[in-house]
């Protein structure tokens, strides 16, 4: 399982290539095996679609993507990063789903003078006092999305909320991010077991507490379990459900109609109205037969950002690419993105609702923009 999957995105040119043609190598780390393999697969799809759209080149240079399966283990991630840097000699490292894995490889990669671009994880330390100029995020800082949810619930005049998240760092961060903007009453704060599959006991307790609203962070398979059981227990009559990172393109095919009407915040949605996103979503559906999730969109944006950095600077040197990315104006599925002083995107956070599209497929639709051009709270602590 530890083998590196090498897929050459380069197709032999039929014409004679220039003698001095440079090849840019990108190491793309994600989780391709285990229960979270579906997330990695979506990200890989996003990367491959972006490479297809760019004709196998990045910023005009021949390009090679080297995929690495981190197995969701920090130690494996560290080894792989080492190997990609020293033996494959990649020019850029990208990917990474999990915050704890990103923390493990952040220092070794950035200090080696290689650019590190996150397609998903955005833990607070590297947005704040442990930030590094060689790191960029093409996703979000962890707090931004739940912060948007807190702001929305505050604006909507909701008086009390019952919070539920898995008992680990990201779970606590998410709820903290929500509470930064929501000033109403917290009716309860329950931490469930990471990887829990049956929430019936928690739902019974929730039914007894009768909170006005409930907000959950239950990513991946936990989200599928929670939402299913929530509907099965008839909880909609008891409380109104709000979610972050729990109902998305990965879980919707398993939830189908039972997820209709559920609200959540996200920085991206398949119905975002811009040319890049429309092309991305249409081609993704045509190629992979189903809606992309935000993971796929962020992976796609990561490749677009690399393409932009090389095209702008005309080079694959770290310093020049870094300057190009920091200058912003990066074309993505979320429109043109600019970077904050800590190299995290300044972006909108949307409220999305689960709806059926014209073909009867369950997807998400933007119903409100909660934050406009929002920068995260940690940037002030970041000094390069």
């Amino acid at each position: 399982m530890k083998k590196l999957m090498t897929i050459c995105a380069v197709t032999a040119a039929m014409t004679v290539a220039p003698a001095m043609a440079e090849t840019v190598k990108v190491g793309y780390m994600t989780t391709l095996s285990g229960g979270a393999g579906i997330i990695g697969k979506q990200m890989q799809n996003g990367v491959e679609l972006a490479m297809e759209h760019k004709g196998g080149k990045l910023g005009g240079m021949d390009a090679e993507i080297i995929y690495a399966d981190d197995q969701r283990k920090p130690d494996v991630a560290k080894q792989l990063a080492n190997r990609l840097l020293k033996s494959d000699r990649v020019d850029i490292m990208a990917g990474v789903i999990w915050s704890n894995l990103l923390m493990a490889i952040h220092k070794p990669v950035t200090r080696s003078g290689t650019l590190l671009i996150s397609s998903n994880a955005g833990p607070s330390p590297i947005a704040g006092d442990q930030c590094h100029e060689n790191f960029f995020s093409m996703s979000w800082q962890n707090d931004q999305t739940p912060g948007g949810m807190g702001q929305y619930m505050q604006d909507a005049g909701i008086k009390s909320v019952y919070l539920m998240a898995p008992n680990y760092q990201a779970g606590k961060d998410m709820l903290a991010g929500m509470k930064r903007y929501y000033k109403g009453d917290i009716a309860g704060e329950v931490y469930t077991k990471l990887g829990q599959s049956d929430f019936q006991a928690e739902l019974s307790a929730l039914r007894a507490a009768k909170p006005e609203t409930t907000m959950i962070f239950q990513p991946g398979g936990m989200g599928i379990n929670f939402v299913k059981q929530w509907k099965q227990a008839g909880m909609d009559k008891v409380s109104k459900l709000y979610t972050v990172f729990s109902v998305d393109g990965v879980s919707l095919p398993a939830l189908k109609d039972s997820a209709l009407g559920i609200l959540g915040t996200q920085t991206w949605s398949p119905d975002l109205d811009n040319a890049i996103n429309k092309k991305f979503v249409a081609d993704y559906k045509a190629k992979y037969g189903g809606y992309p999730s935000f993971y796929a969109a962020q992976a796609y944006d990561t490749i677009l950002a690399i393409d932009h950095a090389i095209a702008k600077s005309g080079s694959k040197e770290t310093a020049k690419m870094r300057a190009a990315l920091a200058a912003g104006n990066i074309p993505t599925t979320r429109g043109v993105l600019n970077m904050n002083t800590n190299h995290f995107p300044i972006q909108n956070v949307y409220l999305r609702e689960v709806v059926k599209d014209a073909d009867g497929v369950v997807t998400t639709k933007i119903i409100n923009t909660v934050f406009k051009d929002h920068g995260d709270a940690y940037a002030v602590n970041c000094k390069f």
Binding site: I38, G195, D198, Q200, A208, G221, S251, A254, K256
Partner: protein, 306 residues
């Protein structure tokens, strides 16, 4: 913390307990009678869930899915024993651990190749998606009551089978003293194969029942495997009765602990401390219980071997 809430949580615990029992029943026999360390029992749960979900989706009827999935899981257990497991009986435990761990990886990957890495869609059968009022104003999902009923029926059937039938007597004899049983002319090979296939089938039934409740995805059975090992140790290796009682205890302790421990701790500590320690302590409860049982009854509550 009202009485209705406690009653509702007891039902939740019962439901978790009978599901655990279905997984542990086969495992305790495999471990106790066959003296075989089988780690891939969670894969049988997954096979049951996938078979039921896929057939339900194809036919549109949950009960056809269930009816066809049961023989499928029996057959998969039978074939697994015939092709692989029987060659491992003579190996030592460490090699059995390695081989059956390999089987976990194999089955997870096979499911991924066959069905893709995404979770499979499965929902409640319409006939059982309603609620039953267990007390006035306390609706309880009908399907979960159904799970409890099926679990209890399986437990009763296994009990009658083991205590009243001829094959059951052989199983008990095998658990007590396998060498002597074989010496008395009982075909222990066939007996082993049937026990193994039945155990696989029971775990499969647990998977089928769980399918509509949880996400049907590769590796979904592994968390159950760990808890069912705890059940077996508490109940006594090889004892079906022990497995039943221990499964109910573990189900209740886990469920009630998870819900009530944080609020109990809040009576004694500050809110922040209680919220932090509560879930952590609750997830340790069943293991603490196991440790306590091991201290006072090292062979479990109902040891099968005399």
């Amino acid at each position: 913390m009202t009485l209705t809430l406690i009653l509702e949580q007891t039902f939740n615990g019962l439901q978790a307990g009978v599901t655990l029992f279905l997984v542990a029943a086969g495992l305790t026999l495999i471990l106790g009678i066959m003296d075989f360390v089988f780690l891939a029992h969670g894969a049988q749960v997954m096979i049951g869930a996938y078979a039921a979900a896929a057939i339900t989706q194809a036919t549109g009827n949950f009960f056809i899915g269930l009816g066809l999935a049961i023989p499928i899981t029996f057959a998969s257990g039978y074939l697994l024993e015939l092709l692989i497991i029987r060659h491992l009986y003579r190996r030592d435990h460490m090699e059995q651990v390695l081989a059956t761990f390999g089987l976990i990886l194999f089955f997870n990957e096979a499911i991924r190749v066959g069905f893709g890495p995404a979770a499979l869609y499965s929902d409640l059968p319409p006939a059982l998606s309603g609620f039953v009022e267990i007390l006035p104003d306390t609706p309880y999902p009908a399907y979960r009551l159904g799970v409890i009923a099926v679990g209890l029926m399986c437990a009763l059937a296994i009990h009658l089978f083991v205590s009243k039938t001829r094959i059951g007597a052989m199983v008990r004899a095998g658990a007590n003293n396998p060498e002597m049983t074989a010496a008395l002319g009982i075909n222990i090979k066939i007996l082993f194969r049937l026990i193994f296939a039945t155990g696989a089938c029971l775990a499969g039934v647990a998977g089928m029942m769980l399918g509509p409740l949880t996400s049907v995805q590769p590796g979904m059975g592994e968390p159950l495997l760990i808890l069912s090992l705890v059940v077996i140790i508490i109940g006594g290796i090889g004892s079906v009765r022990g497995a039943f009682i221990a499964a109910i205890i573990v189900g209740l302790v886990d469920t009630l602990g998870r819900v009530f421990l944080p609020s109990i701790l809040r009576l004694f500590f500050e809110q922040a401390t209680a919220d932090g320690a509560g879930p952590a302590l609750a997830s340790m409860l069943v293991y603490i219980l196991m440790a306590v049982v091991l201290i006072f009854r090292p062979t479990g509550l109902f040891p099968a071997k005399g």
